[in-house]
């Protein structure tokens, strides 16, 4: 017990002696502000778009007005031809354009085949999708409106026509996120992932910097020559600080930014504490496997950065190649994200998320297995740059 107290004092002293640790502790909160402020709108609506109107009729002007009045598109240019529109798109002034062909009104009203074409630049995925949505719904309602007008003109009742135009309607019901807010996924996954990345980086750094500076024997002496006490001496004070940061983050996300919180708040607090512990021990395991400061921190950076992709915050694991997707299950943040979806977003019973909590508890056990190897390196510290 005395050894643990002196190890904690040692770890605490190291933590407060350098400015970089204090600065890094604030990074998750700064990132939260960046994300929240940057994506406050939730969806990037009003995509800069253009309409190529080759018809110049009452109908085509009405379509143009409808497009501009919708929430998805903002008509910023009316180029004269397809080529002019393509030039604007290549210069980056517009993301999408809508082409109304020559004699459109005339052909449509006299039942001659005619065609509306719309182009979206999917090289910029999110705005491209938004523009496509706006164009598609305007095109459908234009065609529908024309049919309604013609059929009403011959005396069919309006109710019958409506059902004829769309006999089956598939409603979308999105209980957790009816606004389809993209930010709910990005902020709630990326900010904890930044935290997990920094926790593991700082853990690996503070453990192995002792070997670099040749102070690892003094560190062991301060911990009663026990590796586990020495490691705990570093992890406990760091955990206390990260836990404050993590909970401040949760308060920011759910209290201040009002992201959905459909479960008792302690579910997410528990998940956050376990994420921090799991990330710490993930880094301990890494430091034991590769007891070299540069390689170990490189590896933590590598996994931490790849986690943003492999942990499947946007592209599902089930779709990845099996040999790649399997790596998502060695990352603590993956389980935290799954808990977030189940608990905070969908608010289902805790029972269904039980395995994710247990998985987070496995990480410390893995870390414990390698401590002996780290001990040997700490007794004979050799710095390899």
């Amino acid at each position: 017990m005395k050894a643990l107290r002196s190890a904690i004092a040692y770890g605490w002293h190291q933590l407060v002696s350098r400015r970089i640790y204090r600065v890094l502790m604030t990074v998750p909160l700064i990132t939260l502000f960046v994300f929240y402020n940057l994506m406050e709108a939730g969806l990037p609506l009003r995509v800069p778009s253009a309409v190529v109107d080759l018809d110049h009729s009452t109908l085509s002007r009405r379509v143009t007005r409808n497009l501009g009045a919708g929430e998805y598109n903002k008509i910023v240019a009316l180029p004269e031809s397809y080529h002019d529109a393509m030039d604007l798109l290549r210069k980056g002034e517009i993301m999408a354009f809508f082409v109304i062909p020559r004699d459109f009104e005339h052909d449509a009203l006299s039942a001659r085949p005619t065609s509306i074409t719309y182009y979206s630049n999917m090289a910029f995925f999110v705005p491209g999708t938004m523009a496509y949505k706006g164009f598609k719904s305007t095109a459908i309602s234009t065609v529908g409106g024309l049919s309604v007008a013609t059929l009403t003109a011959v005396g069919l009742p309006e109710s019958t026509i409506g059902e004829m135009i769309n006999p089956v309607n598939i409603n979308l019901n999105c209980p957790g996120n009816p606004w389809l807010n993209y930010n709910y996924y990005l902020t709630n996954s990326f900010i904890p992932a930044v935290l997990a990345l920094l926790v593991s980086l700082v853990t690996a750094y503070t453990l192995l910097v002792e070997i670099k500076h040749g102070t690892s024997r003094r560190w062991l002496e301060a911990s009663g020559n026990s590796m586990i006490v020495a490691v705990l001496g570093k992890l406990i004070p760091q955990f206390a600080l990260w836990s404050v940061v993590g909970n401040a983050m949760l308060a920011g996300l759910y209290g201040f930014c009002h992201f959905p919180m459909n479960c008792p708040v302690w579910h997410m607090i528990l998940a956050m504490e376990l994420l921090i512990i799991a990330s710490q021990w993930f880094a301990v395991a890494m430091s034991c496997a590769i007891p070299n400061l540069r390689l170990s921190t490189s590896f933590c950076s590598l996994t931490g950065i790849l986690a943003f992709s492999i942990a499947a915050f946007s592209f599902p694991v089930q779709q990845m190649y099996g040999s790649i997707g399997i790596f998502s299950y060695i990352l603590p943040i993956r389980y935290y994200f799954l808990i977030y979806i189940d608990q905070a977003l969908n608010g289902i019973a805790l029972y269904y998320s039980r395995w994710y909590f247990i998985a987070l508890l496995v990480f410390p056990l893995v870390g414990l297995l390698g401590l002996n190897r780290l001990y040997k390196r700490c007794v004979n510290p050799v710095y390899v740059p």
Binding site: I20, V34, N37, L38, M39, A41, L45, R46, D87, L89, R90, K91, G92, A108, L109, A111, P113, S115, I116, T117, Y119, M122, A123, F124, F125, V126, P127, G128, V143, L146, A153, L156, T160, E163, M164, N166, P167, N169, I170, N171, L172, C174, A193, V194, L197, L201, K212, L293, T297, S298, S301, F308, S309, A312, S314, F315, P316, M320, I324, N346
Partner: protein, 404 residues
Amino acid sequence: MNNSSYSGRPGWWGSLCRVFRREFGFVFHDVGVMLFFFALPLFYPIVYTLIYNPETVKEQRIAVVDESRTADSRTLTRMVDATEAIDVYAQCNTLDEARRLQNNHEVYAILHIPADYAKKIGRGEQANVTYYSDMSLLLRLRTAYSALVDVQLALGADIRAASMKELASVSDLVPIPQVSQEAIMLGDPTQGFASFIIPGIVILILQQSMLLGVTMLAAGSSERRRRNGYFDPLAVSAPPSASVIGKALCYTLLYLPCVLYVTHLVPMMFSLPHVGVVWEYLVYLTPMLLSTAFLGIALSVFVTERESSMLVIVFSSVIFLFISGLTWPVYAMNSFWQLIGACVPARWGIDGFLRMNSNGASIFEQTHSFLMMWILVAVYFVLAYVVTHYRDRGRRLVPDTAAA
């Protein structure tokens, strides 16, 4: 004092060349820096593309609750199952049963067909069907939604054709409009995830790996200075401007093969969108590399130990990814973030490169981005100069023995 220490030594151009040469030596004798400069741009694009290479979401599992149990409802189920996006994994009797499957993560959504589905179609009324998504990922919903809209349109056309037959007398008289519509996806015709994200990511990888390497080199020098009483025995004594430019030129030159690799070979290997001209990429990205090199030299004031370069640089990748406009478009940012984004070289690099690589634009259509990158070169050169100048001011650039 400083001037005298340069006397008898090569002039400005001479010291520039010596810095340039010495920096090459540093890079190739440092495994850590080589890892950042070469291994990272070599392997990261491959790893990223392998992650996203399946491109689209296919056959996501759903449960169907068919309360209608008619030929019509079975047709709907079959049509949904036949789409590429959706796989009907289970048929449930009640919504509760389906919800249990959803909570157990066996299915991602539930399609509920109400009891009056076929009756309404028969009566010529509008039939409503509900799709409950579990909202675990937006991409799943997006793919499912567009598949369902297609099913809805196809089914609607079938039913309409049948009812039009009954109205044959009317449809002969009335000119029913025949307007077709076509959506064309530019830049990423398959709407795949890899095709959209990889061309942007590789540019960000270039910037971030260079920043990591440059700050690690600078930190190595600062460690040597600390050990030797503020004198770096391996450094070339040169005026700050020559030293800064010499280093930046060295890094830029080393990165040109990497640019060729990530902008030309990576899209070719994985058949990603790639319709631009190679030499235009090289010319276009050169100012980005130069400004990144200067930025790295300027940032090295924050990095005093080789390994802490990772602590300082790595997390910034996430922020840069977002303010570069790749995932969140620039037009939707407020002016504050547009300004911050404008200071990141990769923001302009990604912007122009995507248009050249995916949309087939030429470098002459990217003058704004190109000019902005050259402005960043100037700004970060000044910053790097000031940082180097103040670090060296009043400190010995050569040891006393050498001066004597």
